[in-house]
């Protein structure tokens, strides 16, 4: 028997085509540097239908605010930071904004913060950037991480404090690079954060994007992976824990255009408390040219208390039959009382038994993160989230 009793909840394994009229293809979704190309969302659009857009009005205003977050950086030797203009960023041929919030963030950021890891650098310590908010003014954040060919690097972005943060992050990786980007959202629960993370996987490169979302009132991280050449590998990992009042949303779009590339997505989330809300949407498009593609995506949600709601929508679109493999799995289940009984029948107290089961639920994805300090911090944070339940 699986941890997740396969009792479907809302949205479990729903192919979007069955529930509404979607774009004919994920590839046809509007994408532009021009804010005017996107209407202000109402919540009825496919890409906004789960999001509480009424709480996010300022994110869609086509105007600069001049506000910013506090930036603290830890740079290993050889890594540099600089600023470039938005025009220069566009000229790099970067992926375009996919929704209005991202287009606004890119248009009004006033400049792009750049982190450069030189070619063939082998970093032994992560690049660490801590972004802290102290007031609710809307901040347009614009970041570019560039990792040179054959370089090996880990970049950890941490988000804390109070902020309304609209973020555009571009990750460009050179041929054969080995890159891990971790984005940790531990905002104050008054905060709102909309993000577009574009990851361009270089030829034969291996890129991992990891989203850890624990704090924030509304957090929505859209991660898009594309491939600059054949042989690339993308891993998208995510862990989230939603409490009462939190809306945590993760959307992935893996666009397989180059042949012989791999992608593997694994997101796991827990929900506790009435009105706790999570959304996971995983779109994978295998274009006609992407022969030899191997892709798999998985989302699991563990509902710890009544009243929480998890939506999980995997979509797979395949335009060529010449692939290695393609699949997805999604399941949302309630906490399994039989597991609790088994552990308690061995003398283990209920709170500790619950902790063991939830830690176990996350263990497989946490182990794949591969950045020990992030793993330890995450497990401690999950313990605190569970302890919050006991105190409530």
């Amino acid at each position: 028997m699986s941890l997740l009793t396969q009792t479907p909840t809302q949205g479990e394994h729903t192919h979007s085509a069955a529930t509404m009229v979607p774009d004919a293809s994920r590839a046809e979704r509007v994408s532009s540097f021009d804010v005017a190309a996107f209407v202000v969302p109402t919540g009825r659009e496919e890409e906004w239908r789960f999001t509480p857009v009424d709480r996010l009005g300022t994110f869609f205003r086509d105007e600069a605010t001049g506000a910013h977050l506090d930036w603290t950086e830890t740079l290993p030797e050889g890594v540099t930071t600089s600023t470039i203009s938005v025009a220069d960023w566009q000229a790099l041929g970067v992926p375009t904004p996919q929704d209005r919030a991202a287009a606004v963030a890119a248009a009004h950021s006033g400049g792009v913060g750049v982190v450069d890891v030189p070619a063939e650098a082998e970093l032994t310590e992560p690049v660490r950037i801590r972004l802290t908010g102290s007031e609710q003014d809307l901040v347009h954040g614009h970041l570019l991480v560039r990792v040179g060919r054959f370089a090996k690097a880990t970049v950890v972005l941490e988000h804390t404090g109070v902020a309304d943060y609209s973020e555009m992050l571009t990750v460009l990786t050179g041929d054969g690079a080995d890159v891990t980007v971790v984005s940790v959202q531990e905002w104050d629960d008054r905060s709102h954060h909309l993000a577009q993370h574009d990851v361009v996987v270089g030829r034969d490169a291996r890129v991992r994007h990891i989203a850890v979302t624990l704090g924030g009132g509304v957090v929505r991280v859209n991660t898009n992976a594309s491939y600059a050449g054949p042989g690339g590998s993308f891993e998208g990992l995510g862990v989230y824990f939603s409490d009462a009042g939190q809306h945590l949303e993760h959307r992935l779009f893996v666009d397989h255009e180059a042949p012989h590339c791999r992608s593997n997505v694994e997101y796991k989330g827990a929900l506790q408390g009435e009105t706790a809300r999570t959304v996971w949407v995983g779109d994978v498009l295998i274009r006609a040219a992407a022969e030899g593609t191997d892709t798999y995506e998985l989302n699991r949600n563990l509902i710890l208390t009544d009243g929480a709601r998890a939506d999980s929508v995997p979509n797979l679109e395949i335009e060529t039959g010449e692939i290695e493999g393609a699949g997805h799995a999604s399941a949302t289940g309630r906490f399994d009382d039989e597991q609790l009984f088994y552990l308690m029948a061995r003398g283990i107290r209920e709170d500790e038994a619950r902790r063991l089961v939830v830690r176990g639920f996350f263990a497989s994805v946490v182990a794949r993160i591969g950045v020990p300090e992030v793993q330890e911090h995450l497990m401690e944070a999950i313990e605190r989230e569970l302890a919050g339940e006991a105190a409530a």
């Binding site: 029948a345 003398g347 283990i348 639920f361």
Partner: protein, 254 residues
Amino acid sequence: MSTLEIKDLHVSVDTEEGAKEILRGVTLTINSGETHAIMGPNGSGKSTLAYSIAGHPKYTVTSGSVTLDGEDVLEMSVDERARAGLFLAMQYPVEVPGVTVSNFLRTAKTAVDGEAPKLRHWVKDVKDAMGNLRMDPAFAERNVNEGFSGGEKKRHEILQMELLKPKMAVLDETDSGLDVDALRVVSEGVNRVKEGTDVGVLLITHYTRILRYITPDHVHVFVDGRIAEQGGAELADRLEAEGYDRFLPAGAGA
């Protein structure tokens, strides 16, 4: 010296048609060092007795009592019963993904003893117990019951019994689904614990086969939620020869 005393126990479960009584007045006393076999046809309530003693929330005790050395077991939560010295080897052990056997065993031992076991002794105890049950050391790093074969699950249950050293152990159809080699290994494990700790054993089984390896002091035949007949080991031999037919109403299959 411990005594588990079950008196006139009535237990029901909720079904779609309302509460259904499964145990209809069970009375049984088990002392340290004794082995009682409970035998009976499917549906006679054997497993209900096991789960009721352990405190599974699905079962409601409507009357009667269960005491361990005079303490009211029915007042205790599931984990308190285990810490008081009761152990249930389950018929269908549950998978716990992401929790390793080694972590699980240490957590359970710490809970039952009230303090963490001394590391050096503990590692050796686990290794020896696993060796005795012919379990590969790599087993300790697997997730609890995940992907275990039927035999591995049952060995893992008996491993826990060896390490947790309960006062009273209820073995719920530990023999079912085992081939003869696994049955022998598991039975040897139970006998080792009996010799080493003076545990009282309530052995629930559908078949007489396991009683060739674990000798019962008392045999109770369970029919329709009650003990229908009691005797010594010789009663098991008679059941082996005759089956349960004489306890069943005419026309009902075993």
